[in-house]
Symmetry: C2
DNA sequence: CGATTCAGATACCGACCGGTCTATCAGTGC
DNA sequence: GCACTGATAGACCGGTCGGTATCTGAATCG
């Protein structure tokens, strides 16, 4: 398939992830993808349109691969809640790890209600919902509550692994998650 | 006092926080502060130098005010560990909340070992150490471990409040922190 | 008073920005 | 063979970028 739009999108995703959004010009993106300038403005309205499309693409792939990695790592529903952090640990070890591209986008695009920020919020909402589905499968008493707490741990691990250059951010988050999960299930017994 | 450098630094901090770093040009910074261009390059070597100085300034003020707010909110050492998240909640409610300027800086400056990234890492290391000092005062069995877990919760709350536009990120982080703190002290009893 | 220092203002630099326009070319269907 | 389509190549636009140089005024200090 590899249409022109796909090729541009694919390269743009990689470059945005490596160098940020505002810091790279469209000329670089086009040259790297071997695409004519007019093709950009034909398939995407503007540079922001390209950014938005690249984020959506990343989001889609992330949902697929993240869920697959978690589910491949543990089969028991409750173990999967913790396996999430093992998947993160592997991610953080990668040499090209540069944090979460959605958190980075939120940092670079200040306008609160912009399409890009909405795409970021949707991605982050999906993450919480996915954790909620794992919590539900594990039989947690209050899946949405547990999911919100685990989501904070996930994004905190990402942020600290990136910005604070902490090598064990995923480990700390996992240990915290163990306590949180245990407390969530203990509440059931107490009730 | 209000020297030229101070004035520029003060305005630059505000603008960087509101609009990001790469997206604003030096001309805007100078105009907003009413400072001549040459003064920038006299007191700071470059735009990056100004960014670095602005971050350091923010870091210094943050350390003072954050600790003061936490300690004003709770007097019992262990309660202070949770009061941290109440302080965050107040911060997130502010209309001008635009996330953590250090996390944002990490997103915009990709070069891993650059002075700016080092300043970011130092800020994040301080946060963990401050939580460690609170944990120590509270008599936690393993203050550094607890601190690392709480630090993940703090940055996770910030990231999700900003990027995911979650209104209760601080609340979720606080509930998680309660479980984490309880588990940390329970380990003492078990040992 | 005169010399020096500091900062304001502004012109200027080359480079690059996002975006538009035109011209060319390869492939496709009639 | 011919028109049409989609893509490439690249000149071009006004504006802005970070950074430098020059000139002026105002304060400082011996």
């Amino acid at each position: 398939m590899a249409t022109v739009a796909d090729r541009l999108l694919s390269h743009a995703s990689t470059i945005f992830e490596a160098k940020g959004f505002n810091a790279v010009g469209i000329d670089l993106l086009l040259a790297e993808a071997g695409v004519a300038k007019m093709s950009l403005y034909k398939h995407f309205k503007s540079k922001d349109g390209l950014v938005l499309a690249a984020l959506r693409r990343r989001d889609q792939r992330f949902r697929e691969t993240f869920a697959a990695l978690v589910e491949a790592r543990a089969s028991e529903p409750r173990a999967r809640l913790l396996a999430v952090f093992d998947v993160l640990a592997r991610w953080f070890e990668r040499e090209d790890f540069r944090g979460c591209i959605f958190l980075n986008a939120a940092a670079e695009f200040p306008e609160a209600g912009s399409p890009i920020r909405l795409a970021v919020a949707e991605h982050k909402a999906w993450l919480r919902e996915y954790l909620g589905s794992l919590a539900r499968e594990a039989g947690a008493p209050a899946p949405p509550t547990l999911a919100a707490e685990l989501a904070v741990l996930v994004d905190g691990a990402i942020a600290r692994a990136h910005a604070a250059v902490e090598t064990d951010a995923a480990g700390a988050a996992r240990r915290a998650a163990e306590a949180v999960v245990r407390a969530a299930f203990a509440a059931e017994i107490a009730a």
